[in-house]
């Protein structure tokens, strides 16, 4: 069930340039169904900014009743969020949407987790849950530049991890797709910029694949029709899916990205 909760901030740290990791205490953690779900955060108990900000849950701890989000300080809202201190309360709506299906893989199979920039966070919880189920994971993480890289060590603990930076200042120079070519795997789980998702869908149409989409949102719960996309089987028709409530994770080929 979706909850609206005032969550106490446990910690907040800048883990890379403009990249913040925030952990909150939240009873809604018990409602999380799958990795890749997100929350809708109200950063100001005032009108500035007005709307909530959608941020993925990057990991959670049911025992402690805590969840962690990783976000990039970008505009008004995330800048305000980054200024909040432990002890303060944050108005969070969640958990929202449908996450990555971990049960789609058999023990012994290999899952390729591909993340681009702020698409990387939700893959961490996914990775943890997959290995817990005896599935092998390979991580390919793409970033703009060295200073933007985060969580490489965390991912390494779970399995093989390759990093690519657009400017080549760290890891392989280029895009995640340049790295993937040489890897073997049974399925792809990806989250990142639309061009990246499009490329993956084009290059690996033969593989089982799950993609997490991003879209500007109003309500975050399926009521305002802000975040719709066309269904692949009816690309110009009336049928649609809502990224916030039907997604953000879709099976490759299900919707037009």
């Amino acid at each position: 069930m979706i909850q609206k909760e005032l969550c106490q901030i446990i910690s907040q740290t800048e883990i890379a340039d403009d990249i913040f990791e925030i952990t909150v205490k939240a009873s809604m953690v018990s409602q999380i169904k799958a990795p890749g779900q997100f929350v809708h955060i109200r950063v100001a108990d005032a009108l500035d900014p007005l709307l909530r900000r959608p941020i993925s849950i990057s990991s959670f701890n049911s025992v402690k009743g805590q969840m962690t989000m990783i976000y990039r300080r970008d505009g008004k809202g995330t800048t305000k969020l980054s200024e909040m201190k432990p002890g303060m309360e944050l108005d969070i709506l969640g958990p929202l949407g449908n996450g990555f299906p971990v049960e789609e893989m058999e023990i012994g199979e290999t899952a390729l987790l591909v993340g681009g920039g702020i698409g990387v966070p939700p893959l961490y919880e996914l990775s943890t849950q997959l290995i817990a189920r005896g599935i092998k994971v390979i991580h390919v993480l793409g970033f703009q530049t060295e200073s933007a890289v985060f969580y490489e060590q965390e991912f390494l603990k779970n399995g093989e991890t390759y990093v690519a930076t657009v400017d080549g200042t760290y890891g392989t120079k280029g895009f995640v797709t340049d790295v993937i070519e040489n890897l073997g795997f049974d399925a792809i789980y990806a989250c990142g910029p639309t061009p990246m998702l499009k490329a993956l869908e084009r290059l690996y149409s033969d593989k089982k694949m799950f993609l997490s989409l991003e879209e500007r949102m109003g309500c975050g719960i399926g009521a305002c029709f802000a975040c719709v996309c066309h269904k692949a089987d009816d690309p110009t028709g009336f049928s649609y899916k809502k990224v916030c409530s039907d997604g953000p994770v879709f099976r490759a080929g299900e919707v037009v990205i």
């Binding site: 069930m1 979706i2 609206k4 109200r42 009108l47 500035d48 900014p49 007005l50 709307l51 909530r52 008004k76 709506l93 879209e215 500007r216 949102m217 109003g218 309500c219 975050g220 719960i221 399926g222 009521a223 305002c224 029709f225 802000a226 975040c227 719709v228 996309c229 066309h230 028709g237 009336f238 649609y240 409530s245």
Partner: protein
């Protein structure tokens, strides 16, 4: 003592608070948060004859104390609304106000005649003011004669009272209100969104795929209050006011301006519980302000003191 019940054409409301059209879908999502029976009424998403996908995304953009939307009247179409949405809503004892949209006069007429037959549809809201549909749309909301004619046509076929939703994007709102009154409207709802735009700092291009969008939220409240203040003095139709309502205080301000009920739109996105919260806070605020009943607040901004119902404070 019920301080909140109000009577409007076709609408016998336990309280004057209702979600605004397009900001509440057909109710399903918000029913996860609270019992929709708490609401005075529900204004459902615009319905058109055929299903509509609407505009490409991005469809929303944030502005200072407001937001822009260019959904483009996405909806499942008349048939589905009649066969699925309205029946689902009938489980609640809440009057539905059906928002009717279209590009041609016929469209409005066919939707109106059909949807007004539904048992739980107690009134229609003629959306002649959607800023986000290219064809025709605009004229209905900006040319008095056209609006009047459409209103009359729809009145002829509707089985329930017809409220016309006015666009604020006009030089003379009173003229528009008078026209639809002459057209036989039973009430008015106002305001729809102001046409606005935001550009992306990095690309220089509009954030909305549709370029322009409708501005809603607290930013437009002063414009809505002014227009309701003017219109409520010029016509004798009841007005359901909307535009940036976020709190019980805002609701009272709308009543002062001349509204008989109030709709809440954008605020639902900020706080899904905003409607029940306002309904809960209203009686307390009325008590504090010294009103027996919310109807006493109506039109205080312009009524001569003589006309004012007794005020304790």
């Amino acid at each position: 003592m019920n301080r909140l019940n109000v009577e409007l054409p076709g609408l016998n409301l336990k309280n004057p608070i209702m979600p605004a059209s397009g900001c509440f879908g057909f109710g399903r999502e918000y029913s996860q948060f609270y019992d929709l029976n708490e609401l005075g009424a529900i204004m459902i998403k615009a319905t058109t004859v055929e299903p509509r996908f609407g505009n490409p995304t991005p469809r929303v953009a944030e502005t200072d104390a407001g937001m822009l939307n260019a959904i483009g009247l996405q909806n499942p179409g008349l048939e589905k609304v009649l066969s699925e949405e309205l029946p689902w809503l009938s489980q609640f004892d809440v009057p539905i106000i059906a928002n009717v949209a279209g590009s041609l006069e016929e469209d409005y007429v066919s939707v109106a005649s059909e949807i007004s037959k539904a048992a739980n549809v107690h009134a229609l809201e003629l959306n002649i003011s959607c800023p986000n549909v290219k064809t025709g749309g605009i004229a209905f909301g900006t040319i008095p004669e056209v609006a009047k004619r459409l209103t009359r046509k729809v009145k002829e076929v509707s089985k329930v009272p017809v409220y016309v939703k006015l666009s604020p994007n006009v030089t003379n709102i009173v003229e528009m209100a008078r026209a639809v009154e002459e057209g036989g409207a039973d009430g008015l709802t106002m305001i729809n969104t102001l046409v606005g735009m935001r550009l992306d700092l990095k690309t220089g291009r509009p954030i909305l795929a549709n370029n322009t969008g409708g501005l809603s939220g607290p930013a437009i409240k002063p414009v809505a209050i002014r227009m309701i203040y003017e219109v409520s003095q010029a016509v004798s139709l009841p007005i359901i006011g909307m535009g940036g309502v976020q709190s019980a205080e805002d609701v009272i301000e709308y009543f002062y301006a001349g509204a008989s009920a109030v709709a809440v739109g954008t605020a639902n996105f900020v706080d899904p519980f905003v409607c029940p919260t306002i309904i809960e806070e209203l009686p307390v605020l009325l008590e504090k302000l010294g009103f027996e009943h919310i109807s006493e607040c109506k039109g205080r901004s312009w009524k001569k003191h003589g006309e004012l119902t007794y005020h304790r404070a």
